[in-house]
Amino acid sequence: MYRHDLLIIGAGLAGLRAAVEATRLGLNVAVISKVHPVRSHSNAAQGGINAPLTDRGDDWEGHALDTIKGSDYLADQDAVEVMSSEAGEAVIELERMGVIFSRGEDGRLGTRRFGGQKVARTFFVGAITGSAILHVLYEQALKLGLNVYEEWFVTDLIVEDGRCVGVIALDIKSGKLEAIWAKAVIMASGGAGRVFEPSTNAIICTGDGLALAWRVGIPLMDMEMVQYHPTTLDRTGILLSEGARGEGAYLLNSQGERFMHTYAPEYLELASRDVVSRSEQTEINEGRGINGNVLLDLRHLGRELIENRLGYLQEVAVEFLGIDLAKEPVPVRPGVHYIMGGIKTDVDGATAMPGLYAAGECANVSVHGANRLGANSLLDTVVFGRRAAVHAAEFIETVENGSGSQEHLKATEARLRYLLDRPPAEGWATIRNFMAEEMTKGIGVFRDQASMESAESSIDEVADRVEKMSVQNKGKVFNTDLIFTLEMEFMADVAKTIVHGALARKESRGAHYRTDITERDDENWLKHTLVYSDDDREAGVRVETADVTITKWEPVRRAY
């Protein structure tokens, strides 16, 4: 039997940061991940990590205000205060662990400016910041001898007496199903971009943790807040970092105009992401796009800067499009990138269920509110990953292990057997493609009642089809067909929470922009949406709301 003090689901930045902390605190820790840690999607974060370092004249309140304004005042301000005030220490710690941040002439860490922020406070490693940090955290994991269940897929959380006491998981390499018991579990399983198409997200970003938590009764908060990144590649959705604009790149329409002058006269290309994505989409909708794209122009930055500071961008442009960024502008469009919504937690990562914590993209603390600032996601992962571990360690002192009963394992075995024995029907892939296209249509950069209702009926259809889908591959070893089928079930749940969150919010705020109700409504909607699983309702969901925590920044009209 597998038993630990703490089990962390996911080995990206949030999961590994939590694991490092918990190991230092002397806990018996294990990390479980459906991919090897260095394959995690934290890799794909390119541009940097924000930190207001006071020793170079910045102040955390400045970062907090930029974050809150970026969130369109939906972030909980107590949570933002925690993140901003702990940011400096978190980034310095990463440097001391070995991250090779870019530096200035004086040998100290250098910055670039990122969107929605008044000053340059984004620390970076070329255009591979996420990858560089992930690899260093993995080095720390190796140093500490961290126990990792590599390529294990979590199918269920084990809940006993209202407390999370472990997981049921499938060893992908052997096909064996096991129960892993822990006194506390931290969900750090990342995002859900695959619910949409195209998206910048990896194929593995299927919202597993969101659905696992939701199924055991934990509310998902502000799921309608889906970030469209302004510079993604057509068709594939591959990301080109905001770092390009941070270094000074322009956005141009088909007439060669820097159209951001119209929409954000002060911040221009470095307005917040929701604003830039809407501006681009408006240009495209009004006929000033080029085959559904606008242009990202880096030519004036010069080859040396492009290759030294944005090397990975150049690699992507050359290898995937055959475009040399020093010579040609590259067509880009808004694409699904990040989900601000997630498992509702407090500032210590605690969820509504004792023993279950969440951190990183799957969690909603909430520091990103209705729109996340670029380079705040990496910060979120390390600050709240660490805090979740610290709090979980305290909790672990107060509880005993779960029962160790075989019943949970048997229940999952029966469920998987039923799935594998279903009569031949359509597989997961056609359902996923249908769902993802419908979600992108209905829950887009712009949305309205009709588009969201259309998405709702598509998602209902998806739920029906998921009930019947069958697994073609009956093998045990590396049966990805089975894994993807289980992921499809997760995604169908996540899509449902997104659609119902969106339908509930009768205003426009941040990423949730309704063309039929274009104004923000602080009187009625300075509120979080909470979507619960509820079998008593026809739709299977119940939506409630909760107040936003305001500490010292009163909501004002937002302009860039």
Partner: protein, 321 residues
């Protein structure tokens, strides 16, 4: 576009370890598709039992290393139009030197066991009282070459030394070792160099075949890093190795004769006091003699060897400390 794939399949549940079969797939794909797009298309629409790893689709996660037409590549950044524009057959196989799990999925253990071997983390004797380590940007940017490594395993797959000697630490782990040796914040440089120099399968086991440099999808150029490690190890006083003696003998011979004195090179590399190795060489010498393959005991001077010597003198005077 017309795409023609031949994929090596292996299923441990129905086949013996040495068995495999070839499956042929003809597809119609978008003109800018990658090999990964084609494999995903097969997995989603034709054969759900096909096993492969992939995640980011953008050459940053390192999951999708496999052999394409005999050479290790990241298939997410291998565009079909570039390698088979006219529907020519593309041969897909799992990576080498890493043990096979199923179809195109290899074991990750051989790769990461080697990474573990080099103490792959920063060892700083002390930390600054406040703030970050101060270090020159040039020195840090220099490390990015190796930091670009995404641990995809392509270099390990096609390493010709690993093919015959699984003790070799290998290109990826040695490039990672270089990254710490060169890091101005790391205080274990001397120990690291000694360890890499002395270890079985250490820096002297690379045969400089260049394969890792060719196949690395992120321009890490592991072999160049290994050569730099050798130089640093020598400069750090690690001279009691056949590798060092080989280098010195090679150098002397070229400078003196303008060509390689192969007999002397073999003996000097072994070291005059290394009796067991000299015995080995003696038996090879006898066999060579019998077959008429023995290199001359007293080497001939190359024509115009003075020109080579002039080159040596020029380089040496330029690099005088």
């Amino acid at each position: 576009m017309d795409v023609n794939l031949k994929v090596r399949r292996y299923d441990p549940e129905t086949m013996d370890q040495e068995q495999s079969r070839w499956d042929q797939f003809r597809l119609d794909m978008h003109p800018s598709s990658t090999v990964l797009d084609a494999l995903i298309h097969i997995r989603e629409n034709i054969d759900a039992t096909l096993a492969l790893r992939c995640a980011c689709r953008a050459s940053i996660c390192g999951s999708c290393g496999m052999r394409v037409n005999g050479e290790a590549k990241l298939v997410c950044k291998t565009r079909i139009a570039d390698i088979a524009p006219d529907g020519k057959e593309i041969i897909i196989e799992p990576m080498g030197n890493q043990g096979l799990i199923k179809d195109l999925v290899v074991s990750l253990d051989p790769f990461f066991d080697k990474v573990r071997q080099i103490d792959p983390y920063l060892k700083a004797a002390s930390e600054p009282d406040q703030g970050e380590f101060i270090a020159a940007n040039d020195a840090m940017e220099n490390l990015l070459t190796a930091m670009n490594c995404i641990m995809c395993g392509a270099c390990v797959s096609d390493c010709t030394v690993l093919e015959v000697d699984d003790k070799f630490i290998g290109p990826a782990a040695l490039a990672k070792a270089w990254r710490f040796v060169e890091d101005p914040r790391d205080d274990a440089r001397t120990d690291r160099l000694k360890e890499l120099n002395d270890a079985e399968g250490g820096i002297w086991d690379c045969t400089r075949c260049l394969k890792c440099v060719e196949v690395c999808p992120k321009d890490v150029a592991p072999m160049d890093r290994i050569m730099e490690l050798r130089e640093m190890a020598i400069n750090d006083g690690n001279t009691d190795t056949s590798g060092y003696r080989h280098t010195e003998s090679f150098n002397r011979s070229l400078k003196k004769h303008g060509r390689l004195d192969e007999a002397r090179l073999a003996v000097e590399s072994a070291g005059y006091t290394n009796v067991p190795r000299l015995m080995d060489l003696a038996s090879i010498g006898v066999k060579s003699l019998i077959r008429g393959k023995m290199p001359p005991i007293k080497p001939h001077k190359a024509d115009e060897s003075h020109k080579i010597r002039a080159l040596f003198n020029k380089v040496e005077s330029e690099h005088k400390p």
